[in-house]
């Protein structure tokens, strides 16, 4: 299915990532965004509100984030492609309904322009500390998809990608961008509508009486209908059977919740997108995502200039995590270097997948700023130099840390 011409603002733009995402949502056929203003994500909502009427879409500013995400889940069941836009504190407020969306197998997209945290944190500056929240934030077992764009162009492209994944797997998809990418202004090329491929909703088309709301197809994803189409749906966040009726026993917990996980995990190969560079001869691999991957590129260049064989593995899809690929690489390389704008989140998944076969170096960075390429380069050198197998994640001491703590934090010494 191709994009609708009315929704696609074909052309070459010089816009920031937030705006690009708003344009991407419309191009993806998003007809409804509910949001609540929060820095640094507001530009995306503003951009969408401005262009929405053109594409027959609408933006509604709700009274809070709880309402915003509830409204988009409702709108998704009314048949619309929907998205909400938020950051840090708003993201925390949305957690309960993200789980609800996963339980109901509702396709929707959530754009999180991450800022420095915790709490109100650093509203106007960057962070990547919501990555584990994206993975585990709502209570109970479920799986969803999270992608991390690293440029305004990708915020456009990946917003469309997020909608496609949401429709295909009927699950919430998180766009885990960060303030740097959201506020970065770059060239964005919006192609013609016929060049944009969209995933249609998995509509059920059989006789209404035979519709079973949660009966999965072969790829474990069930077909959907919308409210008002005569199916007399009953949809509940309670543990339910295939009809959607509440059930209270471990057999159904196993059968149903297991499928929520399996429909993502069994389709991992189709979902995961990675960008790999210079991995063939690499001794050290930098694993990064979002803005950190842009900084890493320079760090890698610097290390290569010093003769280190270092490759780059960029996580475009962060969740589900590419376990097998990391495990495979760990058998070949000496070390992984993971720069993140947090004090260690995705790095522990890299370490988990290494099974002790390679060292893992974390290059941490607090919110409100990005890494120095020199730090990433030095961390690569450290990883290349270390001949011993270190059992725990090696925490690289950045220049900033040395400066602030005059040689190192007391607690760690």
């Amino acid at each position: 299915m191709k994009a609708d011409q009315r929704d696609v603002l074909t052309g070459v733009y010089y816009i920031d990532g937030d705006v690009a995402s708003g344009y991407g949502a419309l191009a993806a056929g998003c007809k409804f965004i509910a949001g609540y203003p929060i820095t640094p994500s507001t530009e995306a909502a503003e951009a969408f509100a401005r262009i929405a009427p053109k594409g027959g879409a609408m933006f509604i500013q709700m009274e809070d984030e709880l309402a915003s995400i509830s409204a988009i889940v409702g709108a998704a069941w009314a048949g619309a492609k929907t998205m909400t836009i938020t950051s840090g504190p708003g993201y925390s407020l949305m957690m309960e309904t993200i789980g609800y969306g996963a339980m109901l197998e509702t396709p929707f997209v959530l754009l999180n322009i991450q800022r420095g945290g915790p709490s109100t944190g650093v509203p106007t500056k960057t962070g990547q500390a919501d990555m584990m929240q994206a993975r585990w934030g709502s209570h109970g077992d479920y799986e969803l998809i999270a992608i991390a764009p690293d440029s305004p162009q990708e915020l456009f492209d990946h917003t469309i990608k997020a909608f496609n994944l949401a429709e295909k797997y009927r699950c919430p998809v998180m766009i885990m961008a960060d303030e740097c990418v959201g506020h970065m202004t770059e060239k964005v090329v919006i192609p013609r509508a016929e060049e944009i491929e969209l995933e249609p909703r998995r509509w059920y088309t059989g006789p209404p009486d035979e519709y079973i709301p949660f009966k999965p197809d072969e790829d474990l994803v069930p077909k959907m209908v919308k409210a008002g189409s005569g199916h007399k749906l009953f949809i509940s966040g309670r543990l339910h059977d295939e009809r959607g009726y509440p059930v209270d026993n471990e057999h159904f917990e196993l059968k149903y919740v297991r499928r929520l996980i399996d429909k993502i995990m069994c389709n991992k190969d189709k979902i995961i997108e990675l960008k790999e560079e210079q991995l063939d001869d690499a001794d050290v691999v930098v694993v990064s995502y979002g803005i950190s991957s842009r900084v890493a590129v320079r760090g890698i260049e610097m290390a290569r200039e010093k003769g280190i064989k270092v490759g780059n593995l960029r996580l475009i899809t962060v969740w589900p995590f590419p376990d097998e690929r990391i495990t495979e690489l760990a058998k070949k390389v000496k070390a992984f270097v993971v720069p993140e704008i947090n004090y260690g989140q995705v790095v522990f998944d890299v370490a988990r997948c290494c099974h002790g076969n390679a060292n893992v170096v974390l290059v941490p960075h607090g919110g409100a700023g990005v890494h120095m390429p020199d730090d990433i380069c030095d961390a690569i050198l450290l990883g290349a130099k270390e001949e011993r197998k270190i059992e725990k994640v090696i925490e690289f001491k950045t220049q900033l840390e040395k400066l602030v703590f005059k040689g190192g934090s007391k607690l760690k010494e």
Binding site: I60, E63, D64, L66, S70, G74, E96, T97
Partner: protein
């Protein structure tokens, strides 16, 4: 003194054709989910009966109506009504329903939930949906307590009444729901008890035909938790209390509708006015935008 009937006599009284007859509300109830979970003496079933009767009376197209509930005893209503029905997270029924209504304005939307769900955890959505005048009917079954969780104090618990989390009596004044709805902008506000089944049904019919944010408060006995901890007897005793203390005052100023512990309950239709709904305003705005009349700021 009446002699007890023998089994034989009872059998004769049963109309054999009744076995083939369907339940009169089978077209709007999910019979495969009956029996329901509500306790003996509970009033929620009466509110559902009134609602089911109203659907028939209002001649609503049952495929174009959606019912949304939150969490709690009344939150279970969506699961027993054979319409497109959604059981949402706690407090978010109105927000969820707002999404349905604005994404598909052809739908008739009903939110059927309890006082805790709509007025405490969902209070913000209640006032904002009223302010926007989203076209929906909100049925608030008010039993003065959190019953599903075992009888904790609610924002509707009358002052001095007992609840498990205020074992020495409630110290907080309760919300006056019609006043809250009225001052937030609702276009139709009524309150009845579940004793007033006929009037409650009529209120539902009127509200279903009303365009805009309509609120019907249905005061309902909780014979297990509210009644027991306050020594108020069983469900029938609470009905008797409604019978003796409910006073019909249609058009009464909503300011005067506070409910004291075992005091008078003023019931009636209080508000019935016209205000453009969200969808009306939005469509008017949209035609101006599309006609180039409204330029972006």
């Amino acid at each position: 003194m009446q002699t007890p009937k023998t089994n034989q006599q009872k059998k004769i009284q049963v109309d054999s054709s009744s076995m083939d007859r369907i339940h009169p509300m089978e077209n709007v109830l999910r019979m495969d989910r009956i029996p329901h979970i509500w306790c003996p003496g509970c009033g929620i079933g009466l509110a559902v009966t009134a609602f089911a009767a109203a659907l028939e009376k209002a001649e609503i197209d049952l495929s174009k109506i959606v019912i949304v509930s939150g969490i709690g005893c009344t939150g279970r209503v969506a699961g027993y009504v054979k319409l497109d029905s959604f059981h949402t997270t706690h407090g978010r029924a109105i927000a969820f329903a707002t999404g349905i209504k604005v994404a598909n304005p052809d739908m008739k939307v009903v939110v059927f939930s309890g006082d805790g769900d709509l007025i405490a955890i969902g209070g913000n959505h209640f006032i904002h949906a009223a302010r926007r005048n989203i076209d929906m009917l909100v049925v608030c079954v008010n039993n003065f307590i959190y019953a599903m969780t075992g009888g904790q104090v609610a924002p509707t618990t009358p002052l001095t009444a007992y609840a498990t989390t205020c074992p020495f009596g409630c110290v907080e004044p309760p919300f006056n729901i019609p006043y809250l709805a009225d001052s937030s902008g609702a276009v139709y506000v009524a309150r009845w008890t579940t004793l007033h089944v006929r009037r409650l049904t009529n209120a539902f019919v009127e509200a279903l035909n009303k365009k805009g944010f309509s609120v019907v408060e249905a005061i309902s006995p909780c014979a297990q938790y509210y009644s027991r901890i306050n020594r108020l007897g069983d469900g029938l005793d609470m009905m008797r209390y409604y019978h003796d203390n409910a006073e019909i005052r249609n058009g009464e100023d909503t300011k005067n509708l506070d409910i004291d512990f075992q005091g008078k309950i003023i019931v009636g239709k209080f508000i019935d006015r016209e205000r453009p709904s969200y969808t009306d305003r939005y469509n008017e705005w949209l035609s101006k935008v599309k006609g180039g009349e409204n330029e972006p700021g």
